[in-house]
Amino acid sequence: MTTLVHERPPATTAVARRNVRRFVTTWSSQLGITAAFVIVWLVFTVLAPETFLHSRIYVSYAQTVPYFGLTALALTMLIIAGDIDLSFPAVFALGLVGYVGVEHATGNVTLGLLTALAIGALAGLVNGVFVTLFGIPALVLTIGTQFLYRGLTLVLVNGQSYTLTETDGTIAGKVLVGRLLGVPMQFVWFAVLAIVTWILLYRHRLGHNAHVIGDNRQAAALMGIPITRTRIVLFVLTGVAAALAGAMNSFAVFNFYPGQGDGYLLPALAAVFVGGTSVFGGRGTVWGTFIGAFLIGGIEAGIVAVGLKEFYSQLIYGAIITAAITIHAVLQRRLAH
């Protein structure tokens, strides 16, 4: 049997050392983000124990972080495949237009919710089809569709807001924003969908293809990976996640306004990148995004709780995001050598 390459030198202690290094670098993005999260939490707890040693703030986080965290999960897959979606905040609202229309016509909250999800899927499908069929970079296309979807929302509801009190006590309402053993359903959804995302990314054909496509699209094409289909599916999943998050948000506050979702763009992307997902595609972690979402979502309330003025929050956000991304970049360069 011919072997094509030289055998490597036999294992030595240097090998063991390299293995340790490989382990650390392989898991570094996850270890790093987890450590950052724990440190920030400890600082907040020491400075504001009366807030951070009681459950109320955690219940609040469990309700609010998933709004952008859910979308961040889907975005993680999309970004690993080398695409991006900036239109999702507009899909938050556009899905609810479908809900309002169907609920008002039929009085059926569940049907309204399903309509919202279907519209999210459709919005994602439009993104995916335009990006793949016309070869438009996703960044550019979704800047366009984000105006398109927001504009469509405003026109369809005539700029009006709606109260959604009819969702109170309904099954759909309980499933989306109720409590399970005292835990807000928003968090339950976030946790369950994080696990589903992990399975899709690391134990499913979809994630396998997404990794290869984001890493080297030409290689994916040469090896017969269904690139167009995979990319479109990931855009659709992002649209559905955005519509679900939008519905959750509205159901929780019994209100829908056409500007809904504004302000979630950067936190969601920050959660993904702070979590260690590469902006160049091919690499990312679900755990990083999950923890990253709580890190990003937790800072603002924490800053207020420790007695700083709220306008410090952006400064501290900026510092944490910049530091986290720099650490990921440095670790990745070391891994490459």
């Binding site: 049997m1 036999p10 054909r205 094409a221 690499r283």
Partner: protein
């Protein structure tokens, strides 16, 4: 072998596919040699009005190695990308084992036993070795769920038995970034062999390899033929191609200008012909003195 996957007895065979002995057909080799495993008839392809291939016909028989040579822009990569289903021809017909294939895609070609070795261009660098081996054809259980354990074990077995990766530093989870040029080439070849291809297309497999790695790569190509499989070997370097090929097919500006059995033409003659073709677009055959215009031209 001991730690091969026991839960997937069918995979053991596949896992050993890297060992060319396992690829050897049970029926006599002579039968296969008669049969055309791959045939292109009058294939034409142009990109944005530029003719990349004009009326190309090639036949590849069983247990045969064709060396495909030609200058840059001669159409070599277009031709192999049509064979692998990456490009669709504008006109012409493709037959695999005598059966006409319409709208050949990469997935269809791989399913029909045509695998290509594209060097590092077809490796995903940040991904693990197992992900690269199973790129495009992952082992799955049901509903698209991956059998990652089986893929890791198969990759480990391929690394040990076929690639000669014995180092503890390389595991199935190592990213490709940690591999040398020769190791990457080995990975690309093993990937093609693992899927029990009948036709293996090697696109400049010796590029960037050291002398000893090149020699091993050429031996590998000979073993493909010994195992009764066929190969198309593309290389700039006629010295590499000549030593392993049964026939040299010469492409120039999108046309096949000659088809030379290596048993009848010396390396010196072919080198002279290639030089003449590159300069003038045609050649005088030293064997029969006829001009290329009277020459059959097509390889079929």
């Amino acid at each position: 072998m001991a730690n091969m996957d026991r839960a997937h007895p069918g995979r053991i065979e596949q896992g050993m596919a890297g060992e060319l002995h396992a690829l050897r057909p049970s029926h006599p080799q002579e039968d296969q040699e008669r049969q055309a495993v791959l045939e292109l008839r009058h294939v034409t392809k142009s990109f944005a009005g530029v003719h990349a291939l004009r009326d190309v016909s090639v036949t590849l028989h069983g247990a045969e190695v064709i060396g495909l040579v030609g200058d840059n822009g001669a159409g070599k990569s277009t031709l192999i990308k049509i064979i692998t289903g990456y490009h669709q021809p504008d006109s012409g017909e493709i037959y695999i084992r005598g059966r006409r294939i319409h709208e050949l895609t990469v997935q269809k070609a791989r399913a029909l036993g045509i695998e290509a070795v594209y060097q590092e261009r077809a490796l995903a660098e940040q991904q693990s070795l197992w992900r690269n081996v199973f790129m495009g054809r992952p082992m799955t259980r049901f509903g698209g769920l991956l059998d990652v354990g089986a893929m890791r074990r198969t990759t480990a077995a391929l690394m040990r038995e076929s690639m000669g990766f014995t180092s503890a530093m390389l595991t199935p989870d190592t990213p490709v970034t940690g591999l040398s040029g020769g190791e990457r080439q080995g990975l690309a070849i093993i990937r093609a062999l693992h899927f029990q291809a009948d036709v293996i297309i090697l696109d400049e497999p010796t590029m960037g390899l050291s002398l000893s790695e090149t020699e091993k790569c050429l031996t590998f190509v000979r073993e493909i033929r010994d195992a009764g499989k066929s190969a198309i070997f593309i290389d700039h370097n006629i010295f590499h191609v000549y030593s392993v090929a049964d026939r040299i097919v010469l492409l120039d500006r999108g046309r096949i200008v000659g088809d030379f059995p290596t048993a009848r033409y010396s390396l010196e003659e072919l080198t002279a012909i290639m030089r003449e073709v590159a300069a003038t677009g045609h050649f005088r055959d030293p064997r029969d003195g006829r001009d290329e215009d009277e020459h059959d031209g097509g390889a079929a």
